[in-house]
Symmetry: C2
Subunit: 139 residues, 2 copies
């Protein structure tokens, strides 16, 4: 499957090691779009070689192509919130994973009926177990 | 006008004093929805007496009623990202204000053509000047 992985870039890069491990896991069996989210060279200022419009247009194109979106929502992010709403708008499946011991998920996301696949985890191995079970269902 | 003021709640409350000053200014001439964003008693865990669905449904109802959305985007927030996408989807006017010296605005927002009213500020008085000029135009 084509998996669009959404996570914070300019919202903060504190969780990059978690993103990297999740992307590495997903890449074993799927094509992962936006892999640059797990790229150490991408810092909180984002991709410096592209304009904002070029980044946005590329991401929207990827979103149109994806089969399922996996959003790691622990680190607050305007871009991920925007992408979640876009997914809802076009009816693409979304799996949300959120680390309970770090932050509380936005009520605008947790309270939206469309997002019925929200999973909370503490350890990375739990997150991988969730993705394994859920992506298995989608196939 | 009915102004929907969007800013971070669960994404972090570091900017609450700024939200309060902006809401106080807006309230002089407008009806401000989601005034609780400037309420000291609302901490990062959000509104504890309401379910997420109740918060989401109330906010969406307000969004349907508003004339213009003012989003303060400095503190990253999934909820604000979601609300910006919702505004774009239903075609409501949006004014985005962002403190340049604190964070960089998401490419997904800055790169979206619909959001053509993005203003950067450093001091609260500059933000108020921007709102005065822009809301004057909307009336």
């Amino acid at each position: 499957m084509k998996v669009y992985f959404a996570a914070s870039i300019r919202g903060g890069r504190a969780d990059i090691s978690i993103y990297k491990q999740l992307i590495a896991y997903l890449s074993n069996n799927h094509e992962v779009l936006t892999e640059h989210i797990g790229d150490d060279s991408i810092i909180a200022s984002g991709e410096v070689e592209r304009t904002d419009k070029a980044i946005r247009d590329r991401d929207i194109q990827w979103i149109e192509e994806w089969d399922v979106m996996v959003a790691e929502t622990t680190n607050p992010s305007l871009g991920v919130g925007y992408e979640l709403a876009y997914a809802e708008h076009i009816g693409k499946p979304v799996i949300i994973i959120h680390r309970t011991n770090q932050s509380q998920l936005s009520a605008m996301i947790a309270g939206t009926d469309y997002f019925d696949s929200i999973y909370y985890y503490e350890e990375i191995k739990d997150a991988i177990g969730i993705l394994e079970a859920q992506l298995g269902k989608e196939e």
